[in-house]
């Protein structure tokens, strides 16, 4: 890549990590477990979701190994079903949903709005404890023999026909749901009430806007999932007859309730990721995000429309043809704000001054893969083609492009971007650029063949498949090994950098957000005194004037 860089580090021979910071303020396990500090809770979250990502990722590896051959050669069909179910449950509820909001969002949102902490620090800690309880319940489920409903818990399969640990998994997700509701609630209150003087709504970084939109979805959508899971548990234990036709229930009702949450959940996962991309693209092209207002409102538009498209998961399930028509049209409408965002990011580069540090590489990866993920979503949103493509590997490839190619790329971009702020140290640049490229290549090798498999008709969730699909599956598994290396590398070098990374200083990227105008790692109170926002978001000229002033006053 180009030798030019915006990284400006302090003189390494004299620089030190500030003595007083949120990491060093108190020591001991209790000071962490009873903390109210949003940055410490974010750190706890980061460690826990990395742990669950590791488990979920290992399960994905098992799935790909099993699919190397057409027969069930590595594990029995039952085991395979449990493995993909646990992979889905862990990745969706214990990794993707909390990934950006509860870690990066938790860490930077209070600083971005110029506050000392989230509005409700104890609720924030409670949400982490709920997450951990849910995590233990999932681990208990796995240890006790697992569950094989698929992460979608389709009734009556889940309520009547399976003899596995549906109840403990359902309750785990119920608890995890409350963790997510509390996080969302906390963000909404903080963004409304805790903005510093001068921080108007349209001066907020776009990361805050997108997390705000996601929080609305969390607060309004998750209770529906919670009640659905309670009904599944009651149906299973007491046969209350809500979903199971054998007791007079309606299985389609379950689909409506489940997708009423689980479609917006997709936006809960992707919107905060989009926020990361806005920050990163702006910073590394030294430009205000092109059409700030359009990008901000497109987040809200996605959140609002996102609530009215759930039945596009049910086009072949016997909803009326006219209902399918309405939901298909709304689905097309929700695709538009995503297209707007992609083009706005691309035009942010126009006449910028671009450098290619790791967060930017991940952001480019996001833009390419999310475009593919989004476009293939239109294939599924159009009722006609959905008939052929749904429930096949096409849909698996589609949501992995959005969730892994989009969201995970955004998460890694954000982790690298805010790592110097979080730890006070830089990650090693060359190897991390290498990891970003490896991830991109491995990802495409893994998931692109699955589009072709899906078009050929290979159904999802098959432990065994007809032999003519093998070649493409071998490709996919080979790609997954590359992808695995791409994910292992950051875990290794980021850990290494905790001790050996270069001292970052306050603002290594020359970024404009308020979080960059304080020391790294920040004080427990974030800022020495309450900041006053006297400029627009992404105002790089303000930053330059600021620096000149400093030079003048020091000189």
């Amino acid at each position: 890549m180009s030798a030019a860089t915006i990284v400006s580090l302090p003189d390494q021979s004299t620089a030190t990590i500030p003595k007083m910071n949120f990491l060093s303020k108190e020591n001991g396990l209790l000071s962490w477990l009873l903390t109210g500090d949003h940055k410490r809770i974010a750190t706890l979250y980061l460690i826990s979701i990395t742990f669950f990502f590791f488990i979920g990722g290992s399960l994905a590896g098992l799935i790909r190994l099993e699919l190397l051959t057409p027969q069930t050669s590595l594990m029995a069909a039952d085991t395979y079903n449990k493995v993909f179910t646990m992979h889905g449950v862990i990745m969706v509820f214990l990794f993707l949903v909390p990934s950006v909001p509860a870690t990066i969002g938790n860490f930077v949102i209070p600083m971005m709005v110029g506050a000392k902490d989230l509005a409700l620090p104890k609720v924030n800690l409670l949400s982490w404890y709920l997450y951990i309880i849910a995590g233990f319940m999932v681990i208990y489920t796995m240890a006790a023999g697992g569950v094989d409903t698929g992460w979608t818990f389709t009734s009556p399969l889940s309520t009547h026909y399976l003899n596995t640990h549906v109840i403990s998994t359902g309750l785990a997700i119920f608890v995890a749901g409350f963790s997510s509701i509390f996080t969302g609630l906390n963000f909404i209150v903080t963004i409304h009430k805790m903005r510093c003087p001068g921080m108007t709504w349209f001066r907020l970084p776009l990361f805050v806007w997108s997390n705000y939109a996601a929080s609305i979805l969390m607060v309004l959508g998750t209770p529906v999932l919670a009640i659905t899971l309670v009904l599944v548990v009651l149906e299973r234990t007491l046969h209350i007859g809500v979903f199971d036709p054998a007791y007079g229930g309606d299985p389609i009702l379950f689909q409506h309730l489940f997708w009423f949450y689980s479609h917006p959940a997709v936006y809960i996962m992707i919107l905060p990721g989009m926020g990361v991309i806005s920050e990163v693209v702006s910073t590394f092209s030294r430009k205000r995000v092109f059409g700030y207002t359009a990008v901000a409102f497109s987040s809200v538009a996605i959140a609002v429309f996102g609530f009215f498209v759930w039945a596009h998961h049910m086009f072949i399930m016997g909803i009326s043809n006219y209902a399918a028509l309405v939901f298909s049209l709304l689905t097309m409408l929700v695709a538009v704000p995503s297209a707007i965002k992609i083009f706005n990011w691309a035009f942010t580069l126009y006449k910028g001054s671009i450098t290619f540090e790791t967060p930017m590489l991940y952001a480019f990866g996001f833009m390419g893969l999310f475009t593919i993920g989004g476009m293939t979503g239109v294939f599924l949103g159009s009722t006609g083609t959905d008939i052929h493509l749904t429930e096949t590997y096409f849909i698996v490839a589609h949501f992995h492009f959005v969730m892994v190619g989009g969201m995970l790329m955004a998460f890694l971009s954000g982790i690298h971007f805010w790592w110097p702020k979080w730890t006070g140290r830089m990650y090693p640049e060359k190897i991390s650029q290498f990891a970003a490229v490896v991830t991109f290549i491995g990802f495409n090798f893994t998931f692109f063949p699955q589009f072709i498999l899906g078009t050929l008709g290979m159904p999802r969730r098959y432990a065994a498949y007809p032999p003519e699909f093998q070649a493409l599956n071998v490709f996919s598994t080979a790609g997954a090994t590359i992808l695995g290396i791409g994910y292992l590398l950051p875990i290794l070098y980021l850990t290494w950098s905790l001790k050996y990374g270069a001292i970052a200083g306050n603002n290594p990227w020359q970024a404009t957000g308020l979080e960059w105008q304080t020391q790294s790692p920040p004080l427990t109170e974030n800022f020495p005194e309450t900041p006053i926002m006297d400029h627009e978001a992404y105002d790089y000229e303000w930053l330059e004037r600021q620096e000149q002033k400093e030079v003048a006053s020091v000189g």
């Binding site: 180009s2 069909a77 698929g150 009556p156 009547h160 409408l333 671009i354 450098t355 429930e391 096949t392």
Partner: protein, 359 residues
């Protein structure tokens, strides 16, 4: 090729011989579906190329080495309107085009031949109107619209024929329909695509498309002796349905001749059309479906008749255009309840008598 590992060699051989990139087109709808599919692929490629060109182009033109000072731009309403309206227009084209296909695939023509499909863990049972039964296979002729009426006996299943580009969920407790017209003889995959438990991936089979002549031969060679309606008639008699559903003046249930597709007024005052779904509900859940003027005395047959049995009964009632045969069965069934009743009465009385004796 000693230096190539045998595993790799085997894989390469497979790669060269068994490698599909696109499914066969074997139904009338398939080429139309593929036209939309390739239109979408084209739009996606153009869109993706555009995004990649913008990113790569700007990255080269405005890299820091070449362009050290960024020029601040707020945005541009015209540009933003362009990339709002053009994608919206394209998406709306895909929406309308897709909806047209969707309505065609899920609206069977009136002259379609109806085949019933019952899904259960983990097999597909196919019931032809001529009484041919199949498991995990479906034989159909070319050049004739075929309607499938699907139902599941337990959990959600999904009946998918990729070569025909059709798929429909088999749902417990309600009928769903889909239709197709096969064009090319051959054997194609049949998959269950909705996860349905342990052996989900074994719930597969073959769809055999035959020329009309071959199909006729197949029908003759695989007949079970009775048509589906005859199976239904036998069940109708053995369940004593005709004891009430007859034309006698004191009949306790409505006559079922020509009831199919007619408008009925229920005891709730509601008017409905007596279609497959209604007939099924009226058999399994009769107290909710009482025809006006009759007492709610019919017992439920839930759990007593399998979905295949219900399918046979529905097929029988569908084809019932006079009460003549019902009257005929009535003469025999009149005797059956009495003889059964007397049989039942004797052992019934005996324990009662014993009870009286014992204490």
């Amino acid at each position: 090729m000693d230096h190539i590992s045998p595993v790799l060699w085997q894989f390469l051989q497979k790669w060269l011989t068994h490698f599909a990139l696109f499914p066969p087109e074997a139904s009338k709808i398939a080429p139309e579906m593929d036209a939309l599919y390739f239109f979408m692929v084209l739009v996606s490629l153009v869109g993706l190329t555009l995004v990649v060109l913008l990113i790569v182009g700007f990255s080269i033109l405005y890299s820091k080495t070449r362009h050290p000072h960024a020029v601040q731009i707020e945005g541009s309403t015209i540009l933003e309107a362009t990339w709002t309206i053009i994608p919206l227009g394209l998406f709306l084209i895909m929406f309308v085009w897709g909806a047209l296909l969707y309505f065609r695939i899920y609206t069977p023509p009136a002259n379609a031949m109806n085949i019933y499909v019952v899904g259960k863990q983990w097999m597909w049972k196919v019931e032809h109107p001529g009484g041919q039964h199949e498991i995990n296979a479906l034989h159909v002729p070319t050049g004739r619209p075929i309607q499938l009426t699907l139902i599941s006996q337990d959990v959600f299943h999904s009946f998918s024929i990729p070569a025909f580009r059709v798929k429909r969920e088999a749902i417990p407790g309600r009928y769903t329909t889909v239709w197709f017209e096969a064009t090319t003889p051959g054997t194609y995959h049949l998959f269950c695509t909705q996860y349905c438990g342990t052996n989900h991936s074994q719930m597969i089979g073959d769809v055999v498309v035959m020329t009309p002549d071959d199909f006729r031969k197949w029908l003759q060679s695989s007949t079970s002796g009775n048509s589906l309606a005859q199976d239904g008639e036998r069940l109708f008699a053995s369940l004593s349905c005709s004891a009430c559903h007859n034309t006698r003046p004191d009949a306790r249930g409505p006559s079922l001749a020509n009831v199919y597709d007619s408008r009925l007024t229920l005891s709730t005052g509601e008017t409905i059309t007596a279609d497959d779904a209604y007939l099924r509900q009226a058999i399994l859940n009769p107290s909710q479906h009482i025809t006006q003027g009759y007492a709610p005395i019919m017992p439920t047959y839930q759990g007593q008749v399998s979905e295949e049995g219900v399918v046979a009964l529905v097929e029988y009632i569908k084809n019932l255009d006079s009460d003549y045969r019902v009257q005929q069965t009535l003469n025999t069934t009149d005797l059956v309840p009495q003889s059964q009743g007397s049989k039942a009465a004797t052992p019934g009385q005996a324990p009662a008598a014993q009870k009286e004796v014992k204490p």
